[in-house]
Symmetry: none
């Protein structure tokens, strides 16, 4: 579902543990460190989708870290801090922090604020599209394009094709395909499969007599190949 990457920079080991457990159980990819230097290094080497930054770091002031990050990092930064003074909050926010939570914080609220912060950036560029050379399959929009033209597929045809596309290169057995598309009660209706494979080929293959994408594995099943 989620899988956004979050970097935690905090020197209190209990807080780090708590955050790791909480965030991971909510399907975030968590990486954490206790030092400013290490945090900056990680952020630069593989930029996360969001950073949780403690202001009270031992080796460098959190405000400085924030400024350094903001020189290039454009995704959300949430501050976690024991300091509840207005000056701290205002200066952090004005230095580019997206939010500021005072410790101890409530985990439910933290998660909601993380979701809110991610919503703005995540909404844009996140649709999984499978590229097959002259054909593109967009699973989110549920569209199949060939040479940039929309191909009209029925519900069953699409189900079949998306199974193939998601397991490109693998041989999918008759049994497996029948069970996934039609249900467990249809595993001997191989004829269905032949009919629909033929229809799919007619729609997506350039030369339906020499299929380049859907390959027959006689006696076993079919295999999908994205490109040459």
């Amino acid at each position: 579902m989620n899988n956004a990457a979050i970097l935690v920079i905090d020197d209190e080991v209990q807080i780090r543990r708590l955050l790791e457990i909480t965030l991971e159980s909510n399907n975030f990819n968590v990486e954490s460190t206790d030092s400013a230097k290490e945090g900056l290094r990680i952020a630069a080497s593989h930029p996360p989708d969001l950073i949780l930054l403690d202001l009270g770091l031992p080796d460098e002031s959190g405000h400085t870290v924030l400024k350094k990050l903001r020189e290039w990092y454009t995704k959300p930064i949430l501050i976690l801090s024991a300091q509840s003074g207005e000056d701290d909050i205002v200066s952090a926010l004005d230095n580019g922090a997206n939010d500021y939570l005072v410790k101890p914080f409530r985990t439910g609220e933290l998660l909601a604020r993380i979701r809110s912060a991610l919503r703005s950036t995540l909404a844009e560029d996140n649709n999984p599209v499978i590229d097959c050379g002259e054909m593109q399959i967009d699973l989110a929009a549920r569209t199949v394009k060939k040479n940039n033209e929309l191909i009209k597929l029925t519900a069953t045809e699409y189900k079949l094709l998306s199974l193939f596309a998601q397991q490109e290169g693998k041989v999918l057995t008759h049994q497996y395909l029948l069970r996934e598309v039609w249900g467990p009660g249809y595993i001997n209706q191989s004829q269905y499969l032949r009919v629909f494979i033929a229809q799919l080929r007619k729609k997506i293959e350039t030369d339906s007599n020499r299929p380049a994408h859907i390959i027959t594995e006689s006696g076993v099943g079919y295999r999908f190949i994205a490109k040459e």
Copy 2:
């Protein structure tokens, strides 16, 4: 300088006065109201750059107002509330609020959070008008024009169309549309959908028999296409 327009929706007159003075002295253009209904009207007639919304309104729940605003309003909404319960905060944030301040708040922090919220949208600058060739859908003004003539849509028709317009190109399932427009209890009333799709097509399609915008995906749902 600044000059961003801020709409304050709060029924406590002292808070409104305080906010008006504070915000105006910081070069914001402030408009304020004490009722949900009036707030929604103002927001629609000349959309502000940011909305400060109190959850404890007399005529309508702040949560409802938030949801209604978020159907079309994409700029920041900050919640001001006396409620500090985690449930209130989480549900507000998940319903699209960008921030949540508990009353009584510190004005310096409020201003910093406003600046922070405005900073994010300043970069984007997206006007919420969707161009579909001969048709324009203005989500902020809640209007639909075809060949420069206003098309009169009922509330339900508009809700449906705006869902389509906001997710152009994607297939929206029957379930999804029914849940979003009519509510979770109506997900098997597919006939509603058919009736309203037909009405919408009659109003927005040039040739209702050959729909160019609302495409049927049999057995799955519908897809909206802006242009060829």
